[in-house]
């Protein structure tokens, strides 16, 4: 909610162009139209009911955006994937039989077709504002595939890994945040998700070794990557040894 509201707040005129028909966190439910021009979906799906809702809205929507790391990659809740769901439920709930949750955590494009992905945990409000502005003039923001490193270089932020030996996931993480963590003197922890380009098994394996040499063991590396990059990481998960 924060980032969408912030995007709307950033440009006074934006509200003139959009009629917000469904956004429970901000408005009471108004009459539902038969067609939606722009649908922003937050979150991953974990129940059959959620999958049905998403499918229903896909049918009536022209353009669908998966917004945020949960929608794009699965999100931190994907950390439970691979564990017995009955055990997971029983750990948290005294009456696990009442909990209807799927074994998997599905990013949105595992359920429906998605027209655009905006990663980030949270998404950058400027990316949302850019989309909202360009969409009304029948355009779209141009995605530039690069890593967080490019943002550090452009901003003149000293490389925390090279200069201070701090483990940083920037080289393998998709750009878009503005290199926030390195600008605070800490390593990136990959909350915008793994790059799904220019990366392969051998590169990832070499990189995991680099991080290990700097003190981030494979276990912590795996936990960190799985938490924010389930979908992309699952393609690479055999690259290093536990």
């Amino acid at each position: 909610m924060n980032q969408v509201v912030r995007a709307l707040a950033s440009e006074e005129k934006l509200l003139n162009f959009y009629n917000i028909v469904l956004f429970d966190e901000i408005t009471e439910r108004l009459e539902m139209p038969k067609k939606i021009d722009l649908l922003l979906i937050e979150g991953s799906t974990v129940t059959r009911e959620q999958e049905e809702v998403v499918k229903k809205f896909r049918e009536i929507s022209d353009f669908v955006v998966a917004m945020g790391t949960c929608a794009v990659q699965g999100g931190v809740q994907a950390l439970r994937i691979g564990d017995d769901i009955e055990k997971v439920k029983a750990y948290v709930y005294p009456n696990p039989e009442h909990i209807d949750v799927n074994k998997d955590v599905k990013p949105v494009d595992n359920v429906i077709s998605v027209d655009m992905f905006i990663p980030g945990c949270p998404v950058n409000h400027e990316a949302i504002a850019s989309l909202l502005k360009k969409f009304v003039s029948e355009g779209l923001p141009i995605a530039i595939p690069e890593s967080v490193c490019s943002e550090c270089k452009r901003k003149g932020i000293v490389c925390v890994m090279v200069a201070y030996g701090i483990p940083c996931l920037g080289p393998i993480t998709i750009s878009g945040c503005g290199a926030i963590c390195p600008s605070f003197g800490r390593g990136c922890y990959g909350c915008f998700g793994l790059k799904d380009f220019d990366l392969d098994n051998s590169k990832l394996k070499m990189f995991a070794q680099q991080l290990k040499d700097l003190g981030m063991d494979n276990d912590r590396f795996e936990q960190t990557v799985k938490a924010y990059s389930w979908k992309t990481w699952s393609k690479y998960q055999n690259v290093y040894h536990r």
């Binding site: 909610m1 924060n2 980032q3 509201v5 912030r6 709307l8 707040a9 950033s10 006074e12 509200l15 917000i20 429970d24 966190e25 901000i26 408005t27 009471e28 439910r29 108004l30 974990v46 129940t47 959620q50 999100g75 931190v76 809740q77 950390l79 439970r80 564990d83 997971v88 439920k89 750990y91 948290v92 709930y93 005294p94 009456n95 009442h98 909990i99 949750v101 945990c121 949270p122 409000h125 945040c177 926030i180 963590c181 600008s183 605070f184 003197g185 800490r186 922890y189 909350c191 912590r220 936990q223 960190t224 938490a227």
Partner: protein
């Protein structure tokens, strides 16, 4: 009758059971799917846990990070220098401002104006909409400088912060705060002058974190009912609460000595008004608002007071601010094979409690989180029932709407109240 809860964080419903025209039961249902945070932090290193729990809430991630870091620092006996601790409290207050601004102007205000959302304000009072959006932008800009971004901030870690603000950051913040206070006062004037804020007697006993200043960060908890106050250590929190579960339902409900109670701005304002910043007190009281607020639907007044109190505290802090050296204590392996780590902070919505059991490798064995909304749910339901019973048959058609307004006055966070489901271990 059933009504989807809107203008709250997360997905929930209110269910009102009516029999022969009379309300017989009110229930708040949580429809948001669980994310199993207590489970997923198990086996994770405490540094990763601080980042993960920040994701529980889309509005108060700093509260989660601060509670977790304080819990780990206490059990591992990591000293945090006073100036660093103070800075973290300031980051946390900046979040209180942001969260309350969203609630007051975007979520709660439409209730008093009979509007479906705040954007409709533009049609009748465009300056009001424009300025409240500007105020929100100023609040998040302050958070950007202090925390790196508005939520899931990156500048809090076990042992302190990553980077204290520079001198030029402080200058920028002082300017932002000055602008925010200027913008806020006319907006607050509008809220404090509203004529239709209910003034019935609709309240419950109160619970706050008990300390020297206005409730914020402390290791003691105070419970107030009409007769007296009881103070206990946060370490005993789980022992003094009665946890109830309704048959066939997943939500856990909390009571203290058999009574439901209220946490959050209403509790803080009514118990600790004298500790608000003097200017905030003067401002609010000039409109005739003083403690005790009698009706939970007056919480908007407490939030207005807290926004100003926090902005003034931030202003005072940064006017005298001097940057300090980064302090990075080493986090040594634990000296025992099992340590209990407990802390609580006053999140925007009230007392947030975390308990982690960790092993000697600093990985979490067990976790329990008790959120403000989980504690408030029973009070929300009982107060709604009380109100609807008073109205009797007259309430029949409006029951769900009336309930929703009482519930919304609490600014419930459904995303976090999925955590009403605590670990049974």
């Amino acid at each position: 009758m059933e009504r989807v809860l809107t203008r709250v964080e997360g997905e929930g419903k209110v269910l009102v059971k009516v029999k022969e025209g009379n309300v017989i039961d009110v229930e708040i249902q949580i429809t948001e799917a669980p994310r199993f945070f207590e489970y997923i932090v198990r086996g994770k290193h405490i540094n990763n846990v601080v980042e993960i729990v920040s994701r529980v809430c889309g509005l108060c991630g700093v509260s989660y990070m601060l509670t977790a870091t304080r819990a780990f620092e206490k059990c591992l006996k990591i000293d945090v220098p006073q100036e660093v601790e103070e800075l973290r409290r300031i980051i946390h207050l900046a979040e209180r401002v942001k969260s309350h601004v969203i609630h007051v102007f975007l979520l709660n205000l439409p209730d008093f104006l009979e509007m479906p959302n705040s954007f409709r304000l533009g049609a009748v009072n465009s300056a009001m909409l424009r300025n409240s959006m500007k105020l929100l932008t100023l609040a998040v800009n302050i958070m950007d400088i202090l925390g790196g971004r508005t939520h899931n901030v990156v500048n809090i870690k076990i042992g302190g912060v990553y980077k204290p603000p520079s001198e030029s950051d402080a200058v920028k913040i002082v300017k932002l705060i000055k602008d925010a206070i200027e913008l806020f006062k006319p907006l607050a004037d509008f809220v404090l002058s509203l004529k239709n804020i209910p003034e019935e007697k609709l309240a419950k006993p109160l619970m706050i974190l008990h300390g020297n200043g206005y409730p914020h960060v402390s290791d003691e908890i105070a419970f107030y009912n009409s007769e007296n106050a009881e103070i206990f250590d946060v370490q005993n929190f789980e022992n003094v609460l009665d946890v109830m579960q309704r048959p066939g339902k997943t939500a856990l409900l909390y009571k203290y000595k058999g009574q439901s109670y209220i946490v959050g701005p209403f509790a803080r304002f009514n118990t600790s008004y004298d500790r608000l910043h003097g200017e905030a007190r003067d401002f609010v009281s000039s409109y005739g608002w003083k403690p005790p607020l009698k009706d939970v639907r007056q919480q908007i007044i407490a939030r207005v007071a807290e926004i100003l109190d926090s902005l003034l505290t931030l202003r005072d802090f940064f006017q005298n601010y001097k940057p300090f050296e980064i302090y990075s204590p080493r986090i040594e392996p634990a000296k025992a094979d099992k340590l209990r780590c407990v802390a609580a902070v006053e999140a925007p919505r009230g007392i947030l409690y975390h308990r982690y059991d960790i092993d000697e490798k600093l990985k979490v064995l067990h976790c329990n989180i008790i959120t403000p909304t989980a504690q408030n749910i029973l009070a929300m339901e009982e107060l709604s029932q009380e109100k609807l019973r008073m109205l009797g048959r007259a309430a029949e058609h409006e029951a769900a709407k009336l309930t929703e307004r009482i519930v919304r006055a609490f600014d419930p966070c459904i995303s976090c109240s999925v955590h009403v489901l605590s670990s049974k271990y």
